[in-house]
């Protein structure tokens, strides 16, 4: 287990380095940020000075080394546009995205597992079939279009919920969260539901597939023959056995939801990291783009590591298999 962890950690650092190189070189090739930030009327002397101040006159590899040195210390440069440290800018906006992503995953799990169970246990009932058809809709519909439709229906036509933005926030442990206020809840419902549709559909389908494959197995027949109540058979025997892939998928989905939040944040004007990155790409704000990509890559590596460890903890076959080696 320890060997596994150490090996994975080393791999993660290697991946991070490679990604940082790719990202740095790639972003440098977008365009000359100098053109954006210096007024066309600037004299050549002023241009020289600005270029020197921003560090853009040194060779690429020197810039990269300087960047790495700073990165290790947590300094990823200042945003060209906002002139505050890029990392700080991202961390300021991160809690909003995390809150949205967590709400979405919560909805997906709380509704997905029961719906999937129903669809698996009674596949030919009307409800069961409509759940399955609905789940296909869930990942066929582009998130951004559903978001637009939700705004149209709930905010414009019915006027029940606000169209955009984040509600009032309350500080807990230094983070501002918005779901503890009624206003905040009203603002978070639409984007959270919008973001949750994709993972919801996946959890439903996964649960249903798991139920369908587990039900005909022998140990379920034995449990029934023993005289156990149906509810216990389902909740304890069936559910526990299908939980492993569900847990791992939900873990991975959290990362995906974090990435897809870009779209929902654009539609609902949610002040998170996603909107920041789109704007930064369009404005060629190089430090922010690089910092965002690095932070996201780091989060992904962490999530994958946790999911792998969790998988080997939950599935004794994986653990024992490793011991045998």
């Amino acid at each position: 287990m320890t060997v596994f962890l150490i090996r994975r950690l080393m791999q993660s650092v290697a991946v991070l380095l490679v990604m940082s190189m790719l990202v740095f070189v790639g972003v440098f090739a977008i365009g000359n940020p100098v053109e954006l930030l210096i007024a066309p009327e600037a004299t050549p002397a002023e241009r020289e000075e600005t270029i020197h101040n921003l560090g853009l006159d040194r060779p690429l590899w020197a810039q990269y080394i300087a960047f790495l040195k700073g990165a290790v210390r947590g300094e990823l440069g200042n945003s060209f546009i906002h002139n505050i440290p890029a990392l700080k800018l991202i961390l300021m906006r991160a809690p909003a995205t995390l809150e949205l992503a967590s709400a979405a995953i919560l909805i997906a799990v709380v509704f997905g597992i029961p719906f999937g169970l129903w669809a698996g246990l009674r596949p030919n009932s009307i409800f069961g079939r409509s759940i399955m058809a609905g789940s296909i809709l869930g990942f066929s519909l582009p998130t951004f279009w559903i978001g637009l439709m939700m705004v149209l229906v709930f905010a414009v036509s019915f006027g029940w919920l606000p169209t955009s933005g984040r509600g009032e926030t309350v500080r807990i442990l230094g983070l501002s969260v918005s779901f503890l206020t009624l206003d905040g809840l009203k603002h978070i419902i639409l984007p959270a539901v919008n973001l949750s549709l994709f993972p919801l559909a996946l959890v439903i389908r996964l649960t249903r597939a798991g139920v369908r494959e587990t039900l005909p197995l022998d140990f379920i027949k034995f449990a029934r023959a023993k005289g156990l109540k149906t509810r216990r058979v389902i909740l304890v025997h069936v559910l526990k056995n299908i939980m492993i892939p569900i847990v791992t998928v939900v873990g991975i989905q959290f990362g995906i939801v974090l990435a897809f939040a870009v779209v929902t944040e654009s539609v609902f004007a949610w002040p998170g990291m996603g909107k920041l990155i789109i704007d930064s790409i369009n404005h060629l704000d190089r430090p922010v783009v690089v910092a965002y990509l690095l932070v996201t890559v780091l989060i992904f590596i962490l999530i994958n590591l946790v999911v792998d460890v969790l998988y080997s903890v939950l599935d004794p076959r994986v653990r024992l298999g490793e011991l045998k080696e």
Partner: protein, 293 residues
């Protein structure tokens, strides 16, 4: 369950058991035809500036324009007929989806089969690469690549392929690993046939079944991702009539009640992607050995 004389007839009759799947297949065929025949069935070419009139902009569905044309689905802010714009947009969306799917399938299959057959270090290296690529969501990879490369049809296809080939590689490798141990491969090897020949003429044809399902889902995903990227402004350039771009154009008019600019392209996307997913679903059930009693 009816039995046919040959496996293909059995496959068709299994597939046809679900009316939903058959209906979806018909729906998708219609969408495909609409896309292919777009220049001939549209009343105007929405990207020919001589044919559109900005004074016809934002007309409601069913209204008539200054030149006598009836705009069944309304017009967008530039005066383009929504129906024609949707047909042309479907063309691009389906084209990008199919192209990226096919290229990813070819590249992934070659890599997957080679990894499975050769084995050893090459296999481990390639599969590590596959794991790495698949651990990042496609939207992130596409965002990074398009931020670097800029907008364009070929760049979008490239960004999609770079990530999706890994799916195919993994599937094909799995199937190939199973087939590799079978006797007909041993027989081929004992005949001293060259490696590429064994790989592509003997091994490959037997790994196709899972590819069909994954390929279909892949195309559906590609269409959706392209629309999302175009909506965000990092996908196709404004000169290409992508459905995502149409929807993002209509975004600002939703709040004033002019819903048709965003709603109808979305419905078109829904039909295209949804029908493809439903077909893929039935294909998966029909081809899944574990569910066959």
């Amino acid at each position: 369950m009816s039995t046919g004389d040959n496996p293909f007839r059995r496959f068709v009759s299994d597939f046809a058991e679900s009316k939903l799947a058959v209906g979806s297949l018909i729906a998708f065929t219609l969408v495909l035809l609409a896309a292919l025949l777009a220049p001939w069935i549209s009343v105007q070419n929405p990207y020919d500036l001589a044919q559109i009139d900005i004074l016809d902009g934002r007309l409601r569905p069913g209204s008539t324009g200054m030149n006598g044309l009836t705009y069944w689905l309304g017009t967008d802010d530039q005066g383009r007929d929504m129906l024609s714009a949707i047909f042309y947009g479907l063309r691009i969306s389906l084209g990008v989806g199919a192209m990226s799917g096919i290229i990813a399938l070819v590249v992934g299959s070659i890599v997957g089969i080679t990894a499975a057959y050769v084995g050893g270090k090459l296999d481990t290296l390639l599969m590590r690469l596959v794991d790495l690529i698949l651990s990042f969501p496609i939207i992130l990879i596409a965002l990074i690549l398009l931020a670097v490369m800029g907008r364009g049809v070929d760049k979008v296809i490239f960004a999609l392929v770079v990530r999706q080939w890994a799916y195919f590689a993994r599937i094909v490798r799995g199937a190939a690993l199973v087939e590799r141990e079978k006797e007909y491969i041993e027989a081929a090897r004992s005949l001293a046939l060259s490696r590429p020949r064994i790989l592509f003429r003997h091994l490959m044809p037997n790994c196709i079944a899972p590819l069909i399902v994954v390929g279909t889902v892949n195309v559906a995903n590609a269409i959706q991702i392209e629309a999302t990227l175009s909506f965000l402004g990092v996908g196709l350039p404004v000169t290409e009539p992508s459905l995502g771009l149409l929807i993002s154009n209509g975004y600002e008019y939703i709040l004033s009640g002019q819903y048709w600019i965003s709603v109808f392209p979305g419905v078109a996307l829904l039909i295209a992607v949804g029908s493809l997913n439903l077909v893929a679903d039935q294909l998966r059930d029909v081809l899944n050995p574990r569910l066959q009693t």
